[in-house]
């Protein structure tokens, strides 16, 4: 980070705060992943890291490069979009798989398969 010295003080403070916040949130998410009690609970912990945590880091990055290059740097918006789109997909796939297996094994912790199909499906056809 050789360019960091050129950064104005106010920007440096904001960037540092955002980075620290992001890192903290990510750490919390990771600890949650480790400590929470079962799979369904644990699935929620990393989302803290992938949404808020990453968001803070991305904001810091945007600010840092925008100030340094004196023009708006917006690449991070794209990254945010990707994160917002992909994180739920991944976690939903994992949860669905887990839910499926638990139901299959007759685990008492998960609700059973709904008995009746939603009437909407029939109307759709």
């Amino acid at each position: 980070m050789t360019h960091a010295v050129e950064l104005p003080l106010w920007a440096a403070i904001v960037v540092a705060c955002l980075l620290l916040l992001g890192a903290f949130l990510t750490l919390v998410g990771s600890i949650g992943l480790l400590r929470l009690r079962d799979f369904y609970a644990r699935v929620h912990a990393p989302t803290l890291a992938t949404t808020l945590g990453i968001g803070c880091v991305l904001l810091a990055s945007m600010l840092f490069f925008t100030v340094l290059q004196t023009r708006p740097v917006l690449h991070e918006v794209l990254i945010t979009a990707f994160m917002v789109l992909t994180t739920p997909v991944t976690l939903m796939l994992l949860t669905r798989a887990s839910l499926y297996r638990d139901r299959r094994e007759g685990s008492p912790d998960v609700p059973p398969i709904p008995a009746r199909p939603l009437p909407k499906d029939g109307a759709e056809r």
Partner: protein, 984 residues
């Protein structure tokens, strides 16, 4: 006309016409035959136009240098001898085309036939006109190959297939031997040019390698000319249509061996070795062929063995140490072509009009087909050597040579005239049998068709040939004399002795021998007549010597037993031993080289260890170890851990400022992991060896050994990397590239400029490899049948189908669509975004990290994602552009086309051009021609990756189709891999 054009047309025209004929519609019999006939006549005219030059002893010559440094050029050369053969090939070719027009049935795909025939004509002309030994061997093999196609023309019959295969095996093997022989010859002389070789006779004969060259070349010639012990392919080649037999197996192809022997006669003959190999083979073939021919019941079989015998005669003449014998050989080659070709045509007419070729069933055809009978009678008389026909004159010459020959040893000397008479007597017997058996006797009964005269034009070629036989027989010196003289002088040069072509030489010993042989032949026929009529099962005495059976047995031994034995000894189908061997070999090679040459310490001081990077690497190493640990029983976990290793590598690349590598690594990692996951589904389950458990010690030993090998291999790699990285390379190529990337390549991303410009040719080769690998993967997996225990639908898919059926019998897959609705929608939203990202990477690749490869991978990942979440059928219904082979082809064409385009500007292959274009939205965009190349790479990568993916993904679709919908209760335990990839 200039020599070059005449010669090039002679060789090239038939090939061009062959392609044209091959493109004609299947039923275009008349068009194809007109084309073939016209080409043959034009070629004959071209040959005739060269007569002026050739008759004066001149040589037409055209040379096209190809690789002059290696002494390889295309040389066409026509002297008198080649001229004579070219005339035979084109002249008889024209007659055969006319004959074939009427012989071939309208139901056959006739254009294909004429296409092969024309190509053969071109190959044969090329063979006789070759002025370069390697080129000669090439055309030689080409004639073998086309002969294979022609014999196998009626490929729906087993006889045609077997005959074609046998002919190809024998003659092509002989051709390889000939190739080796001419290489040795070229090595001896120092040049492959025929003119140089023909001028180096003494050098060749005195060279220690002479014997090697002789044996190899003679093997080639003997196989081609169906000489003992390789004669047996010719009778089996009779499964070919009769025009092919008339053309290839009497007049041209089988004469190629004789041609070669005569061609090299001046430089290779004259030694005892030559006389023994060539002469002895000819002598045995002549006798055996004639003897077997007597007992053939098939007309074409009789003619085939007779051909073998006459070729033996010619070979024997070539084996004698006498110039006059050579002239007799050339003369008999022409005579034999005339009468044997007409006899084959006559046999074809008989077959065509009566429906059978069995001599025992045929008789008295003189009545219904008198003209054909007269023609066949004259031709057969020429074959038997009756006076006033051409066969008689060459036979007289042969007898004279047999009497005066100076053979290497005394017994042979005594045997030779006797053998000549015996063979001549035999030829009288089989000629008589042919004529008497078919045309005389009681009127024919019980034939498949009512015999009648053929179409006038079908008989015309026979008439021409028979007329030739008579004219040459009556007035040899006036008709064929000048041409024979030209040919003989071309081979022998100034050494051509005096000879006289005349019917009457006075009462002398050869005439007496002729009379005796004739009388003996008639007597033998009279004695054998009744037994032959009843039909004998093969020739007496050597009935059990079936060369075909020996050949089949040899083939089975070679191609089946030997191969199986070798495979059993040296091969394994198990992957583990193969990998083990490869690794051990690599370790030994690498460590051995390092040990022999020695490796000193490097000159660079290692940089201090960065704690963050070190931590990262600890994680990576843990992942790697974990993957190895879990690889056997927890494949999914191992795959995930491998992904972790890949990510660490990726971050390392970023750390050391190699964004291009990191990008590539990241995308490749993703695709690889997906492909591995798809493959996991099809791996067999863990082997349950509870009852017969191998001893614990043995298993542990094996694992320890594998651990040792793995550690050694990894350690060696690490050492290698360390050694390389701790020293300065002697000349830093990187500086060179860095300095020139922008100036000469027009790009600031040096990595990309290297890939698409400086080393563009390498990249071109690499993407070809990628394309080939993808196609191979597809080809292998297309026929893949999964292991028995993974063939069933996974439990989750069965559940989904059940659920679909239970709920109002909805469409298959609705259940899973409901389950994955949110991820599915999000993924669809992501698709265009990913495409934009790919376009971004592609366009900026020349100046900033990115490029065709990573862009292609991104697109592939985008599509894979649709596959995973949307399912195979859904994705393919919507992405109709998804035809990966077409993408691969387009990519290769684009990349190679960019390279070729440089030629249009007079620049070397793959020269690049660059400038900047101002596009409306995107702004200033670098427009190097390398960008098009990069787009080619991009398209190919997308196609190749998807092809491999689809090859794997379609297994599940195919598996579902091939298994019944309702399956018995599940036995398999639920597996996480299936659950994750359940939608796909």
């Amino acid at each position: 006309m200039p020599d070059g054009i005449v010669l090039a047309c002679l060789v090239g025209l038939p090939f061009v016409a062959a392609i044209v004929a091959g493109l004609l519609p299947t039923r275009a019999r008349d068009t194809a035959s007109m084309l073939a006939g016209a080409v043959a006549l034009v070629c004959l005219g071209l040959v005739w136009s060269a007569y002026g030059t050739v008759s004066g002893g001149g040589v037409l010559r055209a040379e096209l240098p190809w690789m002059p440094q290696l002494g390889l050029s295309i040389v066409l050369r026509m002297d008198g001898f080649a001229w004579l053969f070219a005339g035979l090939i084109t002249g008889i070719g024209a007659l055969v085309v006319l004959y074939a027009r009427y012989y071939m049935s309208a139901e056959d795909p006739v254009p294909r036939f004429f296409s092969f025939l024309l190509a053969f004509m071109g190959a044969m002309t090329g063979l006789v006109l070759s002025g370069h030994l390697v080129q000669l061997a090439l055309f030689w093999e080409l004639t073998s190959f086309l002969s294979f196609l022609l014999i196998g023309y009626w490929h729906h019959t087993a006889a045609a297939r077997d005959g074609a295969r046998m002919a190809l095996t024998i003659t092509a093997t002989g051709g390889l031997s000939l190739f080796a022989g001419v290489l040795v010859l070229g090595h001896i002389v120092g040049s492959y040019d025929l003119d140089v070789v023909l001028a180096a006779g003494d050098t060749i004969r005195d060279h220690p390698l002479y014997i090697v060259a002789l044996i190899l070349i003679v093997l080639g010639a003997l196989t081609k000319s169906a000489q003992f012990p390789f004669h047996f392919w010719l009778p089996h080649a009779m499964a070919a249509p009769t025009p092919v037999s008339a053309y290839l197996h009497s007049a041209t192809l089988v004469k190629a061996g004789v041609f070669l022997l005569a061609r090299l006669w001046p430089v290779m003959a004259g030694t005892d070795a030559w006389a023994w190999t060539v002469g002895l083979a000819g002598l045995i073939t002549m006798l055996i062929g004639a003897y077997i021919a007597i007992f053939q019941n098939d007309l074409k079989g009789l003619l085939a063995y007779s051909t073998i015998s006459h070729l033996g005669l010619i070979t024997l003449l070539l084996g004698l140490k006498s110039e006059l014998a050579l002239i007799a050989a050339i003369f008999h080659t022409m005579n034999h072509a005339a009468f044997k070709c007409s006899l084959f045509m006559a046999a074809g007419i008989i077959d065509h009009e009566t429906g059978t070729r069995d001599i025992r069933r045929l008789s008295g055809l003189n009545g219904p087909m008198p003209f054909t009978a007269r023609l066949a009678l004259v031709a057969a008389a020429a074959m038997a050597g009756v006076p006033l026909l051409n066969g008689f004159i060459s036979k007289e010459m042969f007898f004279a040579e047999a009497l005066s020959a100076t053979a290497p040893v005394h017994p042979l000397l005594n045997v030779l005239p006797l053998a000549a008479m015996l063979a001549s007597a035999f030829s009288v017997v089989y000629s008589l049998r042919f004529i008497h058996g078919v045309f005389f006797g009681s009127p024919p009964t019980d034939l498949p068709r009512t015999p009648h005269e053929p179409a006038t034009w079908m008989r015309f070629p026979v008439e021409i040939l028979v007329l030739t036989c008579i004219m040459v027989g009556v007035l040899p010196a006036a008709t064929v004399g000048p041409y024979l003289d030209i040919a003989a002088r071309a081979v022998l040069g100034d050494a051509t002795p005096y000879y006289s072509l005349a019917v009457w030489h006075g009462v002398n010993l050869p005439l007496l021998m002729s009379v005796v042989a004739m009388a003996a032949g008639v007597t033998i026929y009279l004695i054998l007549q009744r037994r032959l009529r009843e039909g004998m099962d093969g020739p007496p005495l050597i009935r059990h010597l079936d060369a075909q059976r020996l050949f089949e047995r040899a083939m089975v031994t070679l191609s089946w037993r030997l191969a199986r034995t070798l495979e059993r000894i040296a091969g394994t189908r198990r992957l583990q031993p193969q990998l083990r061997l490869i690794l051990i070999a690599a370790i030994v090679a690498g460590a051995g080289a390092a040990f022999v040459r020695g490796v000193g310490p490097g000159n660079l001081v290692p940089a201090p260890i960065d704690p963050v990077l070190a931590l990262l690497w600890v994680v990576g190493a843990a992942c790697a170890l974990g993957a190895a640990w879990q690889a056997k029983f927890h494949r999914l976990a191992a795959t995930i851990l491998l992904g972790g290793v890949g990510l660490v590598v990726c971050v390392t690349f970023v750390w050391f400022s190699a964004p291009d590598l990191a990008l590539t690594q990241l995308t490749v990692e993703i695709v690889t992991t997906v492909l591995l996951l798809l493959g996991l589904r099809w791996l067999p389950k863990r082997m349950q060896s509870s009852s017969a458990r191998e001893p614990e010690v043995l298993g542990r030993t094996r694992r320890l050994r594998d651990l040792a090998i793995a550690t050694a291999a990894g350690g060696c790699m690490a050492m290698l990397a360390y050694v390389v990285m701790t020293r300065t390379p002697p000349e830093l190529l990187a500086q060179h590239f860095l300095a020139r990337a922008y100036l000469e390549g027009g790009g600031t991303n040096v990595v990309n400029v290297i890939l698409v410009d400086f080393r563009g040719f390498d990249t071109l080769g690499e993407i070809f490899v990628v394309g080939v690998v993808a196609l191979t993967t597809f080809a292998l997996l297309r026929r893949f049948r999964p292991a028995a225990d993974s063939v069933e639908l996974p439990e989750q898919q069965r559940d989904q189908l059940e659920a679909d059926e239970a709920r109002h019998a909805r469409d298959d897959g609705r259940h899973v669509a409901d389950w994955l609705l949110v991820p599915f929608t999000l993924t669809r939203l992501l698709f265009p975004v990913m495409l934009v990202a790919a376009a971004f990477l592609l366009l900026r690749g020349h100046d900033l990290p990115g490029g065709g490869f990573s862009a292609g991978m991104v697109v592939a990942i985008a599509i894979i994602l649709q596959y995973i979440v949307g399912g195979t059928e859904w994705t393919e219904d919507r992405l109709s552009l998804l035809r990966p082979p077409a993408w691969i082809g387009t990519g290769l064409l684009l990349a190679a086309g960019t390279g070729v385009a440089a030629w249009a500007f007079g620049l070397p292959f793959m020269t690049s051009y660059f400038s900047y274009a101002d596009l409306p939205v995107l702004g200033k965009v670098p427009m190097a021609s390398a960008l098009i190349f990069d787009i080619g790479v991009f398209v190919l990568v997308v196609g190749a990756t998807l092809l491999m993916l689809i090859a794997l993904a379609h297994q599940s679709v195919r598996g579902r189709r091939s298994t019944p919908r309702t399956l018995p209760q599940a036995k398999a335990s639920p597996r996480v891999a299936d659950a994750v990839g359940g939608g796909g």
